[in-house]
Symmetry: C2
Subunit: 155 residues, 2 copies
């Protein structure tokens, strides 16, 4: 190291406490990889919804619901296939594998829990639904358990 630290190495009191570098790096890394799973989770959840509600899940419907072009949806669906979450044959709709269904279930439960907690905290239901969409992908198992506990205790 050629450059000396130009300021004290301690005293972070002005800011919200700087954890050890390793810890923080691990944290941010986890946040970023969560983002890569988030989209797949959204697709899987939506496909499960469409299959349950409409009996089939077609790329165009998926695209419309997600607000993306059908080409984007199709590309994501092939990533889903690569990840072993879905199956799809040309012009024949999209289906979930066992793994995909399991993920969809977990995602749905988690979504519900997040929305319920937000509402319990006084967030209007519309905002709760909207924010949950983004928040849910970043809620750890530990936090999920605390949420369930909180709701139970609160009755």
């Amino acid at each position: 190291m050629a450059r000396s630290p130009s300021a004290s190495d301690a005293d972070h009191s002005a800011t919200a406490k700087l954890p050890a570098e390793g810890t923080q790096a691990r944290r941010f890394g986890k946040t970023r990889s969560a983002q890569s799973t988030a989209l797949l989770e959204d697709y899987v959840e939506l496909i499960a919804d469409l299959l349950a509600g409409e009996g089939e899940a077609r790329p165009t419907d998926i695209a419309r619901r997600l607000g993306v072009s059908h080409a984007t949806a199709i590309k994501s669906i092939s990533r889903l296939k690569r990840a072993g979450l879905a199956t799809a044959r040309p012009y024949r709709g999209v289906f979930l594998t066992d793994k995909g269904r399991a993920l969809a279930d977990r995602v749905r439960v988690r979504h519900r829990l997040v929305v319920d907690v937000l509402q319990a905290l006084g967030v209007p239901s519309e905002a709760a639904e909207a924010d949950a969409e983004g928040i849910e992908h970043h809620v750890s198992e530990t936090t999920l358990k605390a949420f369930a506990q909180f709701l139970k205790a609160r009755g």
Copy 2:
């Protein structure tokens, strides 16, 4: 439309309620664009921390804290510059613009609020810190207000 709907259009009762397509599309779209701001927010927050704590914010330190290579950090810093959030001259460290500082302040307040709420809900502080890192970028103003209210009411 050439293909008839193969199942009822109503009755989504088995799943967690499907909102109108437009609404859901808008929601997902918002979630995705939030992700594009998330990284910039992380950088700005970290740079503010480093400036306050160390007196300077250097690409290598930023990279280490975020767990990415220095090259990645440098590229992100130039995006920060493009967004008018930071300034940086070669070999001279990174600084925040007024806009960057304002964002950093908002982000820090929001982070604190999210962590506090999670802890209030019974989430262990380590998990609260970790999850907040991902969650905070998806919390709307409305939800933020509800959080503040909740904490106040709870004392």
